[in-house]
Amino acid sequence: MDNLHILTIHESHKLLKEKKISSLELTEAVLKHIHSVEDNVRACVTVTDQVAIEAARSADLAIAKGDIKPLTGVPALIKDVICTKGIRTTCSSKMLENFVPPYDATVIRKLQAEHYVIIGKSNMDEFAMGSSTENSAFFVTHNPWDLDRVPGGSSGGSAAGMAIDEGIYALGSDTGGSIRQPAGFCGVVGLKPTYGRVSRFGLVAFASSLDQIGPITKDVTDCALVLNVISGHDSKDSTTVPLDVPDYTRALTADIKGMRIGVPREYFVEGMQDGVRTALEVAIKQLEKLGARVDWNVSLPYTKYGLAAYYILAPSEASANLARYDGVKYGYSYRDTTNMWEAMEKTKQNGFGAEVKRRIMLGTYALSAGYYDAYYLKAQKVRTLIKRDFEQAFQNYDVLVTPTSPTVAFKIGEKVDDPVAMYLSDLCTLPINIAGVPAISIPAGFVNGLPVGMQFISRHFDEESLLRVSYAFEQATDWHAKKPALT
């Protein structure tokens, strides 16, 4: 069989179950494809050829015994911020360039229980800080829809990889939009679960009260299948919530008659591209045609403070989390001195890139004596207001719909020297992490050949509504089936 790499999870699963293909054939096909496109796209920090082949053989043995689950034998691309035992996990940073974790993240253990196949570790903005994957210490990832453009970030490698089929599905992480914004830029599906839905154990910490791991997939069905496996309480992450995990595929009914959908006007901001606005309007009218009750004039008044609050909260948490990279226990270590302080300072100076340093500085400042109340405490109080905005909206609506980003993918180099311009590209995704609610980005059209993402937001632990509305839209449109011309 040809072109196995273009399959989705559910398509692969069917063929594996019917024994029309083996996991080894599928895995070899994906590896071959990766090596044919990687020179142009550069989605992977590490391609795990050998490990993938071994995992595929072991999956085939399980399948032969009749032990096949939805992800069994299906190759996955894992963002290089998620710890994989024995496989280098770099966070696309010089600091962790040679770090080989001694343990697996909980999400990886859950995937292993399904006999998953890891195909590679994907490129990202260093320590997940960025919106374009240009902050990778190693190389820039290119958007398969236009190689001169960024794939978004920070999970740019996972999203670009899905757009060009470097794996059947991928995992990303999302602190302020890092799953959804690149999924939008690359024309694939990306979901940030509710804070506490998926274990963060083994996810290298950026901002602990905002980070979540989630799926990046080729369609909504696959998104539900991955979410089914990675969700749930974990005694190793005390912020996971002890709630039962539903079977998310049951939300894939294609029926949204009577669903109450709100359109918050604050997300259709000044500076938004006209093409994105038009694509969203057409997409939302499609939802109306499918029977949803759309209110076009909802207000979340504190939205405009989201960006400022986020860029205090996230860097503050990051400055504490990244203090651990002191050159003593693991990672890069400056050895050319016997002075303890000098070693620590030079380790960080040489090991971290510009954006990581910027955020450590910003966070250290916001937490420092004399400024804590004005910045950090103030931002936490504004966080309360942003959260209440959502709570009030969800008294009247099942989901909210917004653009994922105000623009389509921008050019490589365009914003790299202007941090504030770069931060603005996450305007529509940041408030969701601040409130901890779940959100998904799905393909909803094109502007000049570049994908437009549509974001749905729902109440805490109601990922089912996101999947229900996304699946209904996907069934009625064919945006998700479009592929970039790069071969």
Binding site: G331, K357, K387
Partner: protein, 95 residues
């Protein structure tokens, strides 16, 4: 909010982040610009509001105080830049 070069050096020291003179100037400009964009928060009346530290409220998460397997010493030290006698080796703290 304009930061001075002195303030930038002080922040770097608090973070124990080595910083070149070139970076002092670059960060002074960039951080000042970012902080100016934060001033919008002063417009918000937050009088009497509780801070939100985490979005999904959980309290008092306990677990049993029981011994569970942990990583082996060799696993823990496998990534150590320098080690001796089953320990991380560091520069002298007091000289």
């Amino acid at each position: 909010m304009k930061l001075s070069a002195e303030e930038v050096r002080h922040i770097a020291l608090l973070a124990r982040l080595g910083i070149s003179e070139e970076e002092v100037e670059k960060f002074r400009e960039q951080l000042s610009h970012i902080l100016e964009n934060m001033e919008i928060l002063s417009q918000v009346d937050t009088e009497g509001l509780p801070p939100t530290t985490q979005s999904v409220l959980l309290e008092n998460v306990y677990r049993l105080d029981e011994v569970l397997p942990s990583l082996s010493v060799s696993d823990v030290l496998a990534n150590a830049p320098s080690q001796e006698d089953n320990s991380f080796k560091v520069n002298a703290v007091l000289e």
